[in-house]
Symmetry: C2
Subunit: 219 residues, 2 copies
């Protein structure tokens, strides 16, 4: 398994780099999702379940970004997707140049659906366009229903919100309706899927969204 | 309730500012704790319980740092401590200059124990000395026992680790012994307190640490 050590991108023009990368991915017919969340929200577990469910239909790859460690890339590879680990040299986010370096090292020319598993952080990743076709964020039930109030930019920048660990709704004091209302006030067009990778609840709706949007990107 | 809007500190010399602030707090006999964690780890809930348990012995104040919103400061005030909310203008961490601005607005000359509730983020806050006398971090059980592998600097920089939501240990796949071993490999001298603000388990040990260290700072 490859581990790529990343350093600060040389270029300052991240938005331009992001647009260029997105255009190339469109030509290559690779639908890239930038997956963002707080640490410990269950990004990797959700991805593993998604990969297992879709791997016979779509060719999937995952670019794992972490400050350190390679535990996630090893888990993803065991689920049956191509996976490369990138280390961000202490940086708290991925930008378009770093994403390009990782994708080039992994090779995505033959891939239908690629995920960038961004650094666990609800703040900085929202400020950098990675070149992905869609931004997807995860909020897990144990984190609390007040997170839209505290990290508004992340909710504003996301196309899809996955509310994960819904199997734990009975255990934690999390008001799903109130949470969704807070999110919609920030972002009226965001798609919201409550899911549990443990029980499978809601996974079909999320996976149908992936099927449809991957097909639309390739069209 | 006051809300302070913060902007980037004018000075670049954060380490020097932090040392100066620490010296002044020593003279004022105010023990300042920099409390750091991921979003949704339960920092505010833990603080509320701690305040309720200690408010008859110690004069306590809390500086609440968030990118946006003031929900935490309102909760803290209801628990019986002086509280001021600072907004960081989108920034992902607090530095010494921002901490000083907040403390001056709040007034801590008559305070024994002050908490800076830092931005919910396991990365950037670890890189900035705030001028606090001690760094305390929270890792909550739902976040997972692999976090020391992925965010090592935060564990290295902390004097105390609170492993919170231990009441949920039966619900999540979290190996407490393995987690503690991973933390000790990064930081052999860190104090570790497994606690539950819900059941009260472990709170006495944490509060005894606060009593002893506040007294030592004032001596």
């Amino acid at each position: 398994m490859k581990v790529i050590e990343l350093h600060k991108s040389v270029t300052e023009s991240n938005d331009r780099d992001a647009d260029a990368l997105r255009s190339e991915l469109k030509i290559m017919k690779t639908f890239l999702i930038n997956l963002m969340s707080a640490p410990g929200s269950g990004k990797t577990t959700l991805l593993m379940r998604t990969i297992r469910d879709l791997k016979d239909e779509l060719r999937i790859a995952v670019l794992e970004a972490d400050i350190d460690a390679s535990v996630d890339a090893e888990r993803i590879a065991s689920a049956g997707a191509r996976s490369v680990q990138v280390h961000t040299d202490g940086m708290c986010h991925m930008d378009a140049g770093m994403t390009r370096t990782g994708l080039e090292a992994m090779g995505v020319g033959d891939i239908d659906l690629a995920f960038l598993e961004n650094i666990g952080n609800l703040i900085c990743p929202a400020e950098y366009d990675t070149g992905a076709a869609a931004n997807v964020m995860i909020l897990s039930v144990p984190e609390g229903d007040d997170k839209p109030l505290k990290y508004p930019l992340m909710f504003e920048k996301s196309d899809v919100l996955l509310i994960t660990k819904t199997d734990a709704l009975g255990y934690f004091d999390f008001d799903l309706d109130k949470c969704i209302e807070r999110v919609r006030r920030l972002n009226p067009v965001i798609k919201i899927f409550p899911v549990s990778a443990k029980t499978g609840e809601g996974m079909k709706e999320w996976e149908d969204w992936l099927r449809e949007n991957t097909a639309a990107w390739k069209a």
